[in-house]
Assembly symmetry: C2
Homo-oligomer: 167 residues x 2
């Protein structure tokens, strides 16, 4: 299973999509990966809105300044957290990383565009997708067929960020 | 690379270790996976303390109520975030998920034990490992050789957590 490591190391944020759709079965695998994340006391304080409706994607594209790639995305996944659970932010972040990895390994590109804690982004997302008040959209993840294939990953390893026993 | 999906779906939290050490090269791969996570504006607001010193592991075991498995862990990774960066919590959570996945695929067991936001856990971790004031330990991840091999993953997929376009 060495390829899991390869998948982690070769994933990068992809922002240019062809406009093609995402295969429905692939979306299900991607969401299943998200739900496999760990969570505090196994609370699973998440929910996922899969947006494939072109009208909604266009509105979100217009309202979210850092999600302009939505206009060519095949889908977007909105990761929402249950604000009643103390750990919702980290648990939903772990689920998001699984989603990004799964999308990558299935040949798609994806990028984490932050929504929380910015009220000017939370509100339009909540309104368009009718997300209930106790659920908070952590991010919007546009997913698409990448324009450029096999993009070289960015090397982010830095020895200086590792400490042994004592900082 | 289908095995990345298998790795995500088969990982689970492991809390019983044999007491054996972790191969040094494996620790490096695990940390490298952590650093491959996405981060807001590529800020990489993380640092990692790798603890293999048995005395420090024993002290952390004593001080952290939910990390008692440290007494049989081969190592622990403390994921720290730069509190000056707004996104440090979610970025470090994504790095943590990569660490958990990499440990799993290399045959180890690991578990996310939360430190932040609990001051009674942050302080002893900070003190023992001399973590500087602007860095915050998000969690301690005990890693070890699992007592039980090939533990069956928990099925966490729930259709009820998926919404299509509109909640």
């Amino acid at each position: 299973m060495q390829t899991l490591i390869d998948g982690i190391l070769s994933r990068r944020s992809i922002r240019q999509f062809t406009g093609e759709s995402i295969i429905e079965d692939d979306l299900n695998i991607i969401i299943r990966a998200g739900m496999a994340a760990p969570s505090s006391m196994n609370s699973q304080p998440w929910a996922f809105v899969i947006v494939t409706d072109k009208t909604i994607l266009a509105i979100l594209c217009k309202k979210l300044p850092y999600a302009k790639m939505l206009d060519k995305a095949g889908a977007a996944i909105i990761v929402c957290g249950d604000s009643k659970e103390e750990s919702w932010v980290v648990d939903c972040a772990a689920a998001t990383e699984n989603i990004l990895l799964a999308a990558h390994v299935l040949g798609y590109g994806a990028v984490w565009t932050a929504v929380y804690k910015n009220e000017s982004r939370i509100e339009p997302v909540r309104k368009e997708c009718k997300i209930p008040k106790d659920m908070i959209p952590l991010n919007v993840i546009p997913i698409g067929v990448p324009v450029e294939k096999n993009v070289k990953p960015i090397e982010k390893y830095k020895e200086s960020k590792i400490h042994r026993n004592i900082w």
